[in-house]
């Protein structure tokens, strides 16, 4: 029961912090935080609760971003439909790549997802619609469902739109984890042969988890395209896959709030250290090494462990 209380308090803290954020930080920066927090939560759904380490989640983030940008800039669809188009693209890509990737586990799964994502990257580099190195520019953002102006001149209104997407997706992930489906997923993570012997078709569960994670990652990418009004190759490159792994690892793999904290820390660091250039990469690598060697629970994982120790 106390675990439930902790979750409620933590959720309230997160909700209030993000709701108040546009009065403290630039809304544009706040929206970046929300998009990457959502991306990391989607990734965490797979590694934290399914035990599958994907090293290719940039393909969903990037393709979601590209198709949302394409839908808005070229097809002229309203922004909310464009975002859904991006998420739907990631869903389809998730089914196709998940079908291939779940055939192997562990390290192989990581290598396969990385390779598939690289294939998608080369596709985006070559395909005419993505604009190659230039990306897709000219995403148009006017009125949300024809009512609320979320155009570039109204960043705070747009912030709360992104905030709403994030909170809804976060609650959805929470619901998935605590559903019977989520319990089976945890059973598979802990002991797959036993789950099979209990009669679960584990590959279907893993594929479903993979597709959900992919779709939400695509939603994050699509939202980011709506925020920044463009889509580019960096969103689909392998470094992006690495970054989301880093956010989740630093925040705490398998914790509900860890990815959010990790995303906030990493994205803030990138902003404040931007002028240091390649040093950002070196520091990120250093955080990886430090987390793996001495900080495997991550920030939120350590806090939760501390709370548990205090109770007993």
């Amino acid at each position: 029961m106390s675990g439930e209380r902790y979750e409620r308090v933590a959720f309230a803290v997160m909700f209030v912090a993000f709701a108040a954020a546009p009065f403290v930080i630039y809304p544009a920066f706040g929206m970046q935080l929300l998009c990457f927090a959502l991306f990391a939560c989607a990734f965490n759904l797979l590694i934290g609760f399914g035990g599958l380490l994907s090293f290719g989640h940039a393909m969903f983030f990037g393709m979601g971003s590209y198709l949302a940008a394409q839908a808005s800039a070229v097809w002229g669809l309203p922004i909310e439909i464009a975002i859904l188009t991006g998420a739907a693209t990631a869903l389809v890509l998730g089914v196709a790549s998940g079908f291939i990737a779940i055939r192997r586990q562990g390290i192989y799964f990581a290598m396969i997802t990385l390779a598939l994502a690289q294939m998608v990257y080369f596709f985006c580099l070559r395909a005419p619609f993505t604009g190659g190195e230039n990306g897709i520019q000219g995403v148009k953002r006017t009125k949300l469902v024809g009512l609320v102006d979320i155009g570039p001149d109204h960043p705070v209104a747009m912030y709360y739109f992104v905030f709403a997407i994030f909170i809804l997706a976060f609650l959805l992930i929470h619901r998935i984890i605590n559903s019977p489906f989520g319990q089976v997923l945890k059973a598979i993570r802990e002991n797959e042969p036993r789950a099979i012997s209990l009669g679960y078709r584990t590959e279907r569960y893993k594929l479903a988890a993979f597709v959900m994670s992919a779709t939400l990652a695509g939603l994050a990418g699509a939202t980011k395209a709506a925020v920044t009004l463009n889509a580019s190759l960096t969103d689909v490159y392998w470094t992006m896959s690495g970054e989301v792994v880093l956010m989740t690892l630093l925040g705490g793999m398998g914790t509900v709030f860890g990815p959010v904290v990790g995303a906030v820390v990493i994205i803030s660091m990138q902003l404040y250290l931007a002028e240091l250039g390649a040093w950002v990469t070196i520091i990120q690598g250093g955080i990886f090494v430090f987390c793996v060697l001495a900080f495997r629970r991550g920030i939120v994982g350590e806090i939760e462990a501390w709370l548990r120790r205090r109770k007993t």
Binding site: I112, A115, F122, G277, G285, C291, L293
Partner: protein, 312 residues
């Protein structure tokens, strides 16, 4: 017309020669791409060989492999620039230097992770790769540094149907020699027998009085030494640049998934085979040349998930 060339390259080429300049130029382009394919195949084979040997004993996938390949090329560059020691010195010194770096990485960091989930080894080596590549990018920027072909290997041979640069012939020859020496070492010597036994059951081998931890350390050193050797081979062909390893390693991961990490010979055959297929694709359908290996990976995973030479 092209169809005649594929099944019997030699006969086809001779048969084409009298029929006109046009087809003669085509065959030259075809053999040019085949040569590039063989060169790339040499690098795939050398790198996947190292990955396979390391994976066999340490059960980790060494993400740092690409960065250490790059480091090998940079050691060759430094030897020439700072110490005036040429290519042949670099061939001997670079693998040793990188091997020592590898021994340090294994002793100081990787050895702490063997009891944990193997994914942590992947995450750690990924972080190390970011640090090494970021560091070199900070120092040397993204532009490549030239490294010239040693004098004794300059010049070309006219084979009648194509011109064969001496250096490229040397790289293919030397890679084959190194690959088969490694195969011989692992599969046909007493040391290799210990190695294979330790792969099967490390604690039993230790009971027999073999120092398994030292063997693990040296194996890692040997594996990354092979990567460094590939880096020195690559230096005169591609330029020496901080990013030369990162995109290559992802392709090598796909090669490893296709071959399966079961056997040394499997790695060699898959590496060269895929290099040749990639070269042929560059000739017949250049648009797909950067993705063909990933497509093959997807197909292999559908038909034979454990890889061509892998055991379940």
């Amino acid at each position: 017309m092209r169809g005649n060339v594929i099944p019997a390259p030699d006969g086809g080429a001779r048969g084409q020669a009298p029929s006109g300049i046009q087809s003669g130029m085509n065959t030259q382009a075809l053999f040019g791409q085949l040569l590039i394919g063989l060169i790339n195949g040499s690098f795939y084979a050398l790198l996947s060989l190292g990955l396979a040997v390391i994976f066999g004993l340490l059960n980790i996938i060494n993400f740092t492999h690409g960065a250490l390949y790059m480091l090998g090329a940079f050691v060759a560059y430094f030897l020439l620039e700072k110490a005036g020691l040429g290519y042949w010195w670099a061939l001997a010194i670079a693998p040793v230097v990188v091997g020592i770096v590898g021994v340090a990485i294994e002793r100081l960091m990787l050895s702490r992770l063997y009891k944990l989930d193997h994914l942590y080894g992947l995450l750690l080596t990924f972080g190390l790769a970011l640090m090494i590549e970021g560091g070199f990018q900070h120092e040397f920027g993204s532009a490549g540094l030239p490294y010239s072909i040693p004098e004794s290997l300059q010049g070309v041979q006219n084979l009648g149907f194509m011109y064969l640069p001496n250096y490229r012939a040397w790289v293919i020859f030397a890679s084959l020699v190194v690959c088969f020496s490694t195969w011989f070492l692992v599969e046909r010597t007493k040391l290799g027998a210990y190695l294979r036994a330790a792969t099967e059951n490390p604690s039993l081998v230790q009971t027999f009085g073999v120092n398994v931890p030292r063997m693990i350390t040296l194996t890692y050193g040997l594996g990354v030494g092979l990567a460094a050797l590939a880096g020195v081979f690559a230096a005169p062909i591609y330029q020496v640049s901080p990013q030369m390893g990162s995109s290559l390693i992802i392709v090598v991961f796909a090669v490893v998934v296709i071959g399966g990490m079961g056997s040394i010979m499997g790695s060699i055959l898959t590496g060269f085979g895929l290099g040749i297929i990639e070269g042929l694709t560059k000739y017949f359908y250049p648009e797909a040349s950067s993705t063909v290996i990933f497509v093959i990976m997807a197909i292999v995973l559908m038909i034979r998930p454990q890889g061509l030479f892998g055991q379940r």
